[in-house]
Subunit: 402 residues, 2 copies
């Protein structure tokens, strides 16, 4: 099920990061998070990757060193005691640490590294100035290789098949929980790893949200346009045990993760038919998708695309319902996706670096109607040389069950 | 599916934490992690709980304030801009912040809070000395209420039923992935929330591990005695697509999480029969469980219990195989369990505070034989007034399929 990237890809990933480090004035960076380790080494064992801005990185591994050595594509060494990690680094990278004029500037993934670990690192490696390098890491990862795009596409196949299995089982009175358990069973049997990775602190995702009628429209902490009611205050998003009724929108926002790479897609279904108000909102979501597809190409900026979608929602008189309702609206139209589901760029204000070929983005216009439900759709796209290409495979329409 | 704890429980949780804060010399603590917020407020929305050592805590919520207000059992306020959070706190807790002799000592959950957030907090609330309070939080949560024990027991029922469903489907040639998908479907339909929460940085858990023969004995990063081969380097633990063969041990270490509370249990199965070497190791694991049960009561210390198990493994000549093999052994016999799967106390060296009534512990003696597999068992126990009681419900034996 796992195919390794071609050998040159590892060097390419590293060189792209090293260029960013040099441009940003960093002497090196230390990567601590499992997903970051996997991206640069091909292995996800417990340890740290130290990457100088120039020269060879080393993956220092505590456990399992055996597995790390068998998987890793970069130089891999056993991590001594954490207390002596500073000494180990000073000795392996003496050029960096022995320079007498100033302490080296070392970046780290401080957006995910726990403060306790950060404080221990600053003690263990006192001869360093620590700086947040998470933006650089996210930028490098935002542009995908052909290998990565293939992996995402494989997840798209599994998700599409699972959606079909779910729809085949859908009937009135079935609960959201029952429906998701059918879909998850299908994805899991086809290689879904059993979890989805999300970078944001305290953000969690099961496989996604299935939520119908008023349950879908409930406000949540989840950093998305529609989180769903959830099973309890201890799982306050995604499915509930509410039975699915007739003539209400069923939001099926489900992804999966095969071999580390995630896909995200949303379809709207209904048993019976939607009211004209909800149908009109769905049509608006579809128009936004069609229109965004026209602009989705290298050079466009995420914030322009977001502004364009906001404008279309406004013209349709649906501003208050767009991407959540009222005070619980989220301020984006979509997000990068890959090893994590909440990658960069975000289609939101402040993201004004132009899109590049190889970026993968989930675009998810949705409209929320309190008491009634949520309608919308979501595709994952690849930015190509001249435009975009949908990676999601499920036919795009409202799925009507009679 | 969700039953709320009795009203007095919320006050009790808070008072126990406040006593620890006072004893530890803290003036207050700030809780940022979703699980910690849920434990003290009954809600898991995005925000911070500020708890003074004396007086009323406030849950400052960014999103969703509507849901938080409907769920929370403590005073709940809207969080203004993060930049002004320091001012909001100084004004709401002027007694703490206006004292002229010294800056208040504020604890926080620094073992999970990202460094980036920690650094922003220290800027936003400069009039404070920040200190790690994660040990206090873990200690308070280690003793469960009657309500919490009921929740864990409900998860135990769901896990036991799922194990039966899995065993009913088990046959030679089935892959580990296929078997877990049957078990997960059963748990999910019965209310498993679709994820298990684990506190350790970079630690992940799907629902657990099903792993047979040599795949089970592979070393992993996972902080447990047997992690399994996994599906790929991007999911390097739990199930693989290896077909399950005859006469090899099948380790089924599966838990679930219903309404926030987790259960953990392990059973060993075999299609055919085990070799006498593996059977003897299983018998040793069973003897360790029986012996530990005798000592598992208020007053015993976790490190004594661990030492006792180590000694039993040694007497049986199985030291090298106990809790992993060789350099990849883990140094514990079990762990606390509740809202997270890796709670305190750990049955390991250094944990010398006596056990208390109400603690819940998973005890998991396992023996690893490289190339052959892993055998062992795991039960979750409640410490009672005079001893212990198993919360796991699955019959305890090697499950033999002919």
């Amino acid at each position: 099920m796992h195919i390794s990237p071609p050998q040159e890809e590892w060097l390419n990933r590293r060189l792209r990061m090293q260029r960013k480090l040099a441009e940003g004035g960093f002497d090196a960076c230390l990567i601590s998070q499992n997903v970051g380790l996997y991206y640069f080494t091909g292995s996800m064992q417990t340890g740290y990757l130290f990457m100088p801005a120039v020269g060879e990185p080393v993956y220092y591994v505590r456990r399992s060193i055996i597995r790390a050595k068998s998987e890793s594509k970069v130089r891999t060494e056993e991590l001594g005691s954490f207390r002596n990690f500073g000494e180990q680094l000073s000795s392996d990278y003496s050029i960096l640490f022995d320079s007498s004029d100033r302490a080296p500037i070392i970046g780290a993934d401080l957006d995910v590294m726990p403060a306790q670990l950060y404080l221990r690192l600053t003690e263990s490696i006192p001869l360093a100035q620590w700086k947040d390098a998470s933006a650089l890491l996210r930028e490098v990862r935002s542009v995908k290789s052909a290998y990565e795009i293939e992996r995402i596409s494989r997840s798209a196949e599994v998700a599409a098949e699972a959606l079909e299995a779910g729809l085949a089982s859908l009937k009135e009175g079935m609960t959201e929980l029952e429906l998701i358990s059918v879909i998850e069973k299908s994805m899991r049997s086809q290689g879904h790893i059993g979890l989805m990775r999300m970078r944001g602190y305290n953000q969690e995702i099961m496989t996604g949200v299935i939520s119908a009628g008023d349950a879908a429209a409930e406000p949540t902490y989840f950093d998305g346009p529609a989180g769903g009611r959830g099973l309890s205050p201890a799982a306050p998003q995604s499915v509930s045990t509410r039975p699915i009724g007739r003539n209400e929108p069923i939001l099926i926002d489900i992804g999966c993760c095969v071999d580390g790479y995630t896909i995200d897609q949303t379809r709207t279904a209904v048993i019976g038919e939607l009211t004209s108000e909800l149908q009109a909102a769905y049509d608006c979501a579809e128009s936004i998708v069609r229109s965004i597809e026209m602009y989705l190409r290298p050079g466009a900026t995420p914030e322009q695309l977001y502004a364009h979608a906001l404008e279309m929602a406004k013209v349709a008189g649906l501003s208050d319902h767009f991407m959540g309702f009222g005070r619980d609206q989220v301020k984006f139209l979509g997000h990068g996706i890959g090893l994590e589901i909440d990658e960069w760029p975000v289609l939101a204000r402040g993201f004004n670096e132009p899109l590049e070929e190889g970026m993968t983005l989930a675009i998810e216009p949705k409209f929320t109607f309190p008491g009634l439900g949520v309608v919308g759709l979501e595709n994952t796209y690849l930015i190509t040389e001249t435009g975009c290409k949908a990676l999601t495979l499920s036919p795009e329409s409202i799925y009507v069950i009679k």
